[in-house]
Each structure stands twice: as structure tokens, then as C-alpha cells.
């Protein structure tokens, strides 16, 4: 970073104004940085949860006896255990790792809130991160709870999660007929297209003129000539943000409805 940016950092890199203080009050013993990383109370929680999860994962993989990076698998318990606890090597390892991962995800989001408070900026990033975590919660917690079995969660491994995706698609006949899946795929494709347009606009125009306002006008006049409308340098970020929100909500709905409300997405379109 440039010199004036380092001076800028020192004005904000100070203790105080954390969630811990806002809720509990008094001194916050966790309010410090480790190298570039902000730690904080939720940083500690996340670090401990990540460490426990990784240790559990290594113990379980060692017990299963296959260290191949592709094949090493932490699988959910089989159907006979339902929503109860399973023995360690029969899915209990999966249950522990999912618990630790969930705790670390939530703590990571709250740590982002702390950082936003310190930098006196908006809370858009932790909000978006929470929405991304909702996909994990739906897949590994909410849908298994609704289906009455932890066996509905996906395997934590390279080959295992591929097979889970493939099997889940075929299990409900043809996942492409799932309307929420179609809306989510549309969202993903639109996101990529708008992303390419935005990236091209900035990479295509930066430092083409001494005056940045001229470069900004060059972007506006280009899009007006090209497609008749320029959404503007602020508007494009709103469009991208809400496209991602839409995509994530549709993704959540697509897996939440499969198996709980709808068993066959082809028959879904022929109800009578």
C-alpha cells in the first residue's frame, strides 16, 4: 500500500467500538490485530472452531484410513440414526465437523460486523456473507431437519460432494425442471454476464484520459450508444449486489423444496 494509505490505516487501527463491548461492556480483551488480521472475540471463536473442526477431520480421516486427497471422505450418518447422534466413525465425525463449521461461519460473519464498525462503513459485506452462509445452513441443517434424517446432508470430500450432487439431481427425476433451480441458474448466468460487462468497462477505460470524469462519461456514452442505457457507476454495483441476492435466495429455495414438498420435478408440472 502507498504511504498515505498506511497513515490512513493507523487512524482506524485502534481498540474500541466492538460488538463485545456493546453487548457485555467494559474492556474487550480480544480487541487486537495479528499481522494484517483483525482478531477480536469472534475471531477467537472462529479460530477455535476452525482448529477443532480441522483436528476432528484429520482424526476421522486417519481412522477411516484413506489419506488420498480426492477420496478422503467425512460422510453423514446412515438413515438408521435419523436425527440422533451417531458413533464417531459412522457419521458422528460428520456431525462434529458440521457443528464446528457452522460456528466458525457465524463467528466469521460477526467478526466482519466488528471490522465494519471499526472502519465506520456500511454492513453490506456481512449481510451478503450471511446470505451465502444460509446456503450451508439450508443444505446441512434445515433440510436434514425437515426430512428427519442427518443422512440428507452432503459428504465433506471432493468425490463425495460430486456424487451427492449427481445423486440428488437424479433422485428428484430431473433437477432442471425444478423452477427455483432454473431461476438460480438464470441468476448465476446473468451475474457472470453483468460481471464481464462491468470488468470490461473499467479495464477498458481506466487511464485513457487525464480527467477521470471524462473516463466516466466515456463509459456512460458507450453504454448508451451500445444498448441505449447506462446504469451508472453506482447503479452497476447495486445491480450486481441484488442479482447475487436473488441468485442465493433462489438457490436456497431450490434445494429446500426438493424432497420436502416435491418428490419428482417432472411430475410437478403435471399435477392432475
Amino acid at each position: 500500500m502507498a504511504a498515505h494509505a498506511r497513515d490512513f490505516e493507523s487512524t482506524y487501527k485502534k481498540p474500541g467500538n466492538t460488538l463485545f463491548q456493546a453487548i457485555i461492556g467494559g474492556e474487550d480483551p480480544f480487541d487486537f490485530w495479528a499481522g494484517p488480521f483483525y482478531v477480536g472475540f469472534f475471531g477467537w471463536v472462529a479460530a477455535i472452531a476452525i482448529a477443532l473442526g480441522v483436528i476432528t477431520l484429520f482424526i476421522a480421516v486417519g481412522q477411516h484410513g484413506d489419506w488420498d486427497l480426492l477420496r478422503a471422505t467425512i460422510s453423514p450418518p446412515t438413515r438408521q440414526y435419523g436425527l440422533g447422534p451417531a458413533p464417531f466413525l459412522a457419521g458422528g465425525d460428520w456431525q462434529l465437523v458440521v457443528i464446528f463449521a457452522t460456528v466458525s461461519f457465524v463467528a466469521w460473519g460477526l467478526r466482519e460486523v466488528d471490522i465494519c464498525r471499526k472502519l465506520e462503513m456500511g454492513f453490506h459485506i456481512p449481510a451478503m456473507f450471511s446470505l451465502a452462509v444460509s446456503a450451508w445452513l439450508v443444505l446441512q441443517l434445515l433440510r436434514p431437519l425437515l426430512m428427519g434424517c442427518w443422512c440428507e446432508g452432503f459428504d465433506l470430500s471432493f468425490t463425495g460432494h460430486l456424487t451427492w450432487v449427481s445423486n440428488t439431481g437424479f433422485r428428484y427425476m430431473n433437477f432442471y425442471y425444478n423452477p427455483f433451480h432454473a431461476y438460480a441458474v438464470l441468476g448465476f448466468f446473468l451475474t457472470a454476464m453483468v460481471l464481464a460487462m462491468h470488468g470490461s468497462a473499467i479495464l477498458g477505460t481506466y487511464n485513457t484520459d487525464r480527467n477521470p470524469n471524462v473516463e466516466m462519461r466515456r463509459e456512460d456514452s458507450f453504454w448508451r450508444d451500445y444498448i441505449g442505457y447506462s446504469i451508472g457507476e453506482y447503479g452497476i454495483h447495486r445491480l450486481g449486489f441484488y442479482l447475487v441476492v436473488y441468485t442465493l435466495i433462489m438457490s436456497d429455495l431450490c434445494i429446500l423444496t426438493s424432497g420436502t414438498l416435491v418428490k419428482d420435478w417432472v411430475e410437478f408440472w403435471h399435477p392432475f
Binding site: I125, F189, T191, L195, S200, N211, E233, G240
Partner: protein, 336 residues
């Protein structure tokens, strides 16, 4: 204790445009700029228009309209000329590709599909010409043209190159809502499960990565736009407090941060990488690999629940598979 480093406002000048590549009598803006106040509620720019006409733009729109007209006429033909039935069976109507690689014997046996695709291909290529000309006139670097050509490459791989390689137009998707969904499933199963195609996996990585990066970038800019981080061209020249906060946020969160220019490198290449990886996935299918499940077994990316014998999964030579026909609107054996 907010520290705001303001940018000295620059005088607003109109950008100089380059002259057209070729003198174009159609090269003029259509309409006049109008304000659509409804858009103010969404906090986006309210100006609609003008739009540049240009030879390539007009050509592209006309060819696209022809493709659309052919789809409508083919749909009308399938429901005996009733517009109401076109609406009723909109999802199920489709233009089916012909069998074999030649010219279709009749409109109903794939001719509609071939005509429509020719017009559609012409439209997208003409749009590339419009893209090139507009980029030149506005003195942009040609990243957008590269992205558009990448998208054309993927559609060409699906609708043209792959059918030519397997010697049958029938391997390409039919044009219709239902047939599009069914093709995605059939094509995957036909080549042994596309989930195990590593290019498909890479494309999904880039696609989900694009969405993740848009979420991160969009949220970062919206969170710091009160200090002007959305003036990205200006921020690339001279960092102000908004972009510094954005950089500090990611540095404190994950120990690493992009900068106003470099983030757009990541954004563009993740989006373009999606289509390029997809194109590679289509091209390697049938030329080098005819069963991605077997490929996965060979390379250890398939989770095996029990022993899989090679003789059971891979018998060489295998017959060339052909796409199943949906049979929804097959002409009767004796013709209609």
C-alpha cells in the same frame, strides 16, 4: 472520528470520440435522451437513450427478428396455426434439429431449426461487429469484444462444432423451453455424467466464483460509496478514503486485498473463464473422452461404493451414441 480524504473535483469535459472505422450512413444516434423518473427509486441512472443505430446494429436486430419470426412460424405450424395454442403449449413447443449432418429434407424435419440458427448466428456475429465499432469510437480497450467473442465461442461449440464432430445436428439442443432443459439432462447422461467432466467442474468453479466476487465487490462498493469508492476510474488514479476502507476491510478480514484496478481483473477473468472452460468441456467430449464417468473412475474422482470392474464400464469399441428424440411433436409416419 471519520477520516474522509476528499477528491478535488475535476472539471467535466465531454470525451472525444474516434471517427468511425468505415463511413456509415446509418451511423447516428436514434431518438433523444429521456428521463425515466421511476428509475430514481432504484438509485440507478434515470436517462434512457439515445441508442446508436449503425449498419451492424440494424443488421443484428433484423437477423434476430428473423430468427424470432421463424420460431413463431414453426410453433404455429406445429399447432395448426392457432396463436392461442402457441401460448398454451409455449413450454413444450420446440424446433427440433434434423438427424445427420446434411441440409434438412423439409422445414418440419429440422429445416426450421437450421434456418433459425443461421439467422441467430448472423445476429450474434453482427453484434460483435457493432461491439467492435462502438469500442473503437469510444476509445475503449477491447475487453468487451473479447468477452462477447468468448460467449459466441461457447454457443458455437454447443450448436455447431460438437454436432459436426459427432456428425449429427441432433446432438445440439432443440430450440424451446422444455427441450432446452431436457437436452441438458440428456447430453450429460449421454456422455456418461457431466458432473465428472473436469472442465464442467472448472466452469462451475468460475461461475460460482463470479457470483461470489460480484457479491464481495458489490457489497464492498455499496458499503463505502458514501466516501466515493464507486468512482472507480478516479480511484484507480488516486485512492481516497472509500477505497482505502474497502482495502482495509479485506486486509483485516482475510489478510489480503485487491485494489480498484486489480479487482476488475479478477471479475473479468472469472466471468470469461466460465465460458472458456465450458467450451473446452464441450470440445473434449466425444473427441478425446466419450464417458466422463469412466474418466472419473480412471482418475479417482468418482466415489466408489463397491468394486467397479473395467469390463463392466468400458467396452471398446463403443457404438457412437445418438441423442434421444423427445417425440413430443414428431410428424406422423405418413406425413401430415
Amino acid at each position: 472520528m471519520a477520516v474522509i480524504i476528499p477528491r478535488v473535483p475535476e472539471p467535466v469535459e465531454e470525451p472525444e470520440l474516434s471517427s468511425q472505422l468505415v463511413a456509415d450512413p446509418l451511423g447516428f444516434p436514434l431518438g433523444s435522451p429521456t428521463r425515466w423518473e421511476l428509475l430514481r427509486n432504484f438509485k440507478v441512472d434515470t436517462q434512457i437513450g439515445t441508442i446508436w443505430l449503425g449498419f451492424w446494429g440494424l443488421l443484428s436486430v433484423l437477423l434476430f427478428a428473423c430468427a424470432g419470426a421463424i420460431i413463431f412460424l414453426a410453433a404455429m405450424d406445429q399447432v395448426h396455426g392457432s396463436p392461442w395454442l402457441v401460448v398454451k403449449y409455449f413450454a413444450n413447443l420446440e424446433l427440433e434439429p434434423p438427424q445427420g449432418l446434411g441440409i434438412a429434407r423439409s422445414l418440419r424435419e429440422g429445416g426450421y431449426w437450421q434456418l433459425c440458427l443461421i439467422f441467430f448466428a448472423g445476429s450474434t456475429i453482427a453484434w460483435a461487429g457493432r461491439c467492435w465499432e462502438t469500442l473503437h469510437r469510444h476509445r475503449w480497450r477491447p475487453y468487451l469484444l473479447f468477452a462477447w467473442l468468448s460467449a459466441i465461442l461457447l454457443t458455437a461449440c454447443i450448436w455447431v462444432f460438437h454436432p459436426i464432430i459427432v456428425h449429427s445436428w441432433a446432438d445440439a439442443p432443440g430450440l424451446g423451453l422444455n427441450s432446452d432443459l431436457q437436452w441438458a439432462q440428456d447430453f450429460s447422461v449421454l456422455w456418461g455424467n457431466f458432473y465428472y467432466n473436469p472442465w464442467h467442474q472448472l466452469a462451475i468453479f468460475f461461475l460460482f466464483g463470479s457470483t461470489m466476487l460480484w457479491g464481495m465487490h458489490g457489497a464492498t462498493i455499496l458499503a463505502t460509496s458514501s466516501e466515493g469508492s464507486h468512482h472507480e476510474d478516479a480511484e484507480i488514479k488516486n485512492l481516497t478514503s472509500g477505497s482505502m476502507k474497502a482495502a482495509l476491510f479485506w486486509r483485516w478480514t482475510m489478510g489480503f486485498n485487491a485494489m480498484p484496478k486489480s479487482i476488475h481483473d479478477y471479475l473479468l477473468w472469472f466471468a470469461v473463464g466460465t465460458v472458456l472452460a465450458s467450451a473446452m468441456g464441450i470440445l473434449q467430449t466425444s473427441t478425446v473422452t466419450d464417458d466422463w464417468y469412466v474418466w472419473g473412475v480412471d482418475h479417482g474422482t468418482v466415489q466408489q461404493y463397491g468394486p467397479i470392474t473395467r469390463s463392466a464400464i468400458n467396452q471398446w469399441p463403443r457404438p457412437m451414441p445418438t441423442m434421444p428424440s423427445s417425440g413430443a411433436f414428431e410428424p406422423a409416419p405418413g406425413g401430415r
